[in-house]
């Protein structure tokens, strides 16, 4: 698009420059020549009148006429008198060089005439006058001067033409940029919307053509935003509505649990199923609410500085596997992270839950600093390694999707669905400006290694 606009402008300016130069040159040329003809006619007429006067008073010789012409500074002439030619001296003219049709027109027909002709090696105007009863007078005016003027006009026209082509090119660059700008802005806005900033809109424009684009773009963004927000609100509303019955369920189950001993065995088994699923249900509703808060952009982190190792130990202590071993490198022991304590604890808890469900027993946690001298920012990694079947490379991104159960058959062993746990891990870590991914265990044994990388500061101790 940009190239096409540029090309159009360039071709247009070349055509325009060419047209203007040619017409200007043509007009200047005919004008100059016409002027020269007019002045030649005037000058030669007065000279012819002088010649006629001299010849009439002295018909025998042309000498007095020649003297008079010489006094006037005229050289390039021919006088035809008594069937004889007399030429000025020195003269570029001689009778042979006179255009024959001009000569016959003047001498035989008795008319005045002029003609552009080449005399000797010069181009010029030959004007002929019939001097009544005594002969004829011809004078030559060269066009050197006009030619010089024309050549300088030619030069300036070529220069002006080049300048206007250059201007046309620059104008084309400018126009192309301007024409493409709304498209670039729209593209930027579109990618901003795709990146989650749903309230992005284009500025309305005065240009009627652009207004169609901006208005329909903004309508689309509006519809999209409403739709996304409605979906997010729906999930949030559903979860909110579920809270009240869940509250009743949780309280009632607790009453029954307190009376478990009084129940028959089969009722006890049913109660155990009921109470464990009420807990699961509760967790799911919490997760749904949390993720719909992410979708609504309503998450605000309560950031504080945390000693990473201490924080992980505390988080593990309240997780579902409080005895999970934690290995902390010497450097990482004194590292500070900036984070939302309760949300990051959820991240650790969810990773431990995931390892418990799919990872074949107790996982191990290691905390290390990332050694990258190229990176100006220090990073810390918290890795949760399990002993499950691992995750095949092509499914490693999928596990962080919502309600994605681990794909490989081996990972379906857990009775609990993965639900939103890892999706929340992903959202939380990204909210903290970090990354999370899953890889193979570095020791080559089977198992998955979930790694969280966060910015960290090292305490000088």
């Amino acid at each position: 698009m940009r190239r096409r606009i540029l090309l159009t402008f360039l071709l247009g300016s070349v055509a325009l420059a060419l047209f203007l130069a040619l017409t200007t040159y043509g007009l200047t040329k005919s004008n100059l020549i016409q002027q020269r003809i007019d002045s030649s006619v005037r000058t030669s007429l007065s000279n012819a009148q002088d010649v006629g006067r001299e010849l009439r008073s002295n018909p025998a010789s042309t000498q007095s006429a020649q003297d008079s012409l010489r006094d006037n500074g005229v050289q390039d002439y021919l006088i035809w008198s008594d069937d004889e030619w007399t030429a000025g001296s020195p003269s570029t003219m001689d009778p042979a060089s006179l255009p024959p049709d001009l000569a016959s027109q003047v001498i035989d027909d008795g008319e005045a005439a002029s003609q552009i002709a080449r005399v000797g090696d010069q181009l010029g105007i030959v004007v002929g006058w019939n001097v009544r009863n005594v002969g004829a007078y011809f004078e030559f005016f060269n066009l050197d001067e006009a030619e010089a003027t024309l050549s300088s006009v030619r030069l300036s026209l070529v220069f002006a033409g080049l300048v206007s082509i250059l201007l046309g090119f620059l104008l084309g660059v400018f126009a192309a940029r301007r024409a493409v700008k709304p498209v670039a802005t729209a593209a930027q806005a579109a990618s901003s919307i795709a990146g989650g900033r749903l309230d992005t809109r284009l500025e309305t424009s005065d240009d009627p053509d652009l207004r169609i684009l901006t208005e329909s773009f903004n309508d689309m963004a509006e519809a999209l935003q409403q739709r996304v927000e409605r979906d997010a609100r729906f999930a949030s509303d559903v979860s909110h509505e579920l809270r009240s019955p869940l509250m009743t369920l949780a309280a009632s189950v607790e009453v029954m649990e307190a009376r478990r001993d009084e129940m028959p065995e089969r009722a006890q088994a049913a109660l155990d199923l009921l109470s464990s699923d009420v807990v699961r249900f509760q967790g799911l509703v919490e997760d749904l609410l949390e993720i719909s808060r992410f979708d609504a952009g309503a998450i605000r982190l309560h950031l504080e500085e945390l000693l990473a190792a201490e924080f992980v130990r505390q988080a593990v202590a309240v997780s579902s596997l409080p005895t999970t071993p934690i290995h902390v490198s010497e450097r990482a022991e004194h590292a500070l992270i900036r984070g939302d304590r309760r949300r990051l604890a959820r991240v650790i808890a969810n990773l431990i839950d995931n390892a418990r469900a799919y990872g074949g027993g107790e996982p191990e946690i290691s905390i290390t600093m990332v050694d990258d001298p190229e990176d100006p920012v220090t990073h810390l990694q918290i890795a949760v390694e399990d002993r499950g079947p691992g995750i095949p490379p092509d499914e490693r991104d999928l596990v962080f999707e919502r309600f994605a159960r681990g794909g490989g058959a081996g990972r379906r062993t857990g009775s609990e669905g993965a639900g939103l746990g890892l999706a929340l891990v992903d959202e939380h870590v990204r909210m903290h400006g970090g990354r999370v991914w899953v890889e193979d265990r570095p020791d080559g044994e089977s198992g998955a290694r979930f790694v969280i990388e966060l910015m960290a500061m090292e305490l000088d101790e």
Binding site: A250, V318, R341
Partner: protein, 233 residues
């Protein structure tokens, strides 16, 4: 009589959803508490005066007078411990509930066991004395008598809630020393490392409006940025 609750400890549960109210009452009674129910703020106030409870549990979303308003009304005449029940744990509801005078909060759906634990923490008696009997501690114009639960400023008695008083006592136990939010959460509310620091911040703010001559420029309860709070003369 159950095995967890205090002897004859009376809880007033204010909740408009009848099924939740019944289930929570059942569960709390199972824990050994005596439970009175109210379905609205207005009914709660009436019952509160007729049979004064030891703890009030208030759902924020009540028809008519809402939970914040009810809490403010009770606070005008009473320092009874109040636990708020919020639907969301977002900043607005929690902080507004604490500002209204609540001592602690829970997010729905909570386990009644958790509620019992919170109530027990709030009712925990202040240690008989900080160091010896009927001690009087002075901090400039402030005077603290832990055993009598009294705080005086320039000789005038101040009305502090139980939680505010406990917070002040914990700070007074090690004057001049900084106590972190986590430490205060543990000592005053019985929370672990993952307790909500906003509990401390809002209570410190409320405490300052009572003990400080100029709460905007606190001289006694001082914030130490990034670390916590400190009591000084």
């Amino acid at each position: 009589m159950g095995h967890h609750g205090g002897v004859g400890t009376r809880i007033l549960a204010v909740e408009d959803d009848e099924r939740i109210r019944s289930a929570v009452k059942l569960a709390l009674e199972e824990e050994g508490w005596i439970v009175d129910e109210a379905e609205s703020g207005e009914a709660a106030i009436e019952l509160f005066h007729r049979t004064p409870p030891d703890v009030v549990l208030i759902d924020i979303m009540l028809p008519g007078m809402d939970g914040f308003e009810l809490c403010r009304t009770l606070r005008r005449t009473s320092d009874v411990p109040v636990v708020m029940v919020t639907a969301r744990n977002d900043t607005h509801d929690v902080v507004a509930g604490l500002e209204a005078g609540a001592d602690d909060y829970l997010t729905k759906p909570f386990a009644p066991k958790e509620l019992s634990a919170r109530i027990r923490a709030l009712l925990r008696r202040i240690r008989p004395s900080i160091n010896g009997q009927h001690q009087r501690l002075s901090f400039g114009d402030l005077e603290l008598i832990p055993d009598e639960g009294k705080v005086l400023r320039d000789g005038t008695e101040l009305h502090l809630t139980k939680t505010e008083f406990r917070l002040l006592c914990e700070l007074a136990e090690s004057p001049g020393k900084v106590l972190s939010r986590e430490a205060l959460l543990d000592k005053v509310w019985g929370y672990d490392y993952f307790g909500d620091g906003r509990l401390v911040d809002v209570h410190v703010r409320r405490l300052r409006t009572k003990v400080e001559a100029d709460p905007a420029n606190p001289r006694h309860v001082v914030t130490v940025r990034g670390l916590g709070y400190r009591l000084q003369t």
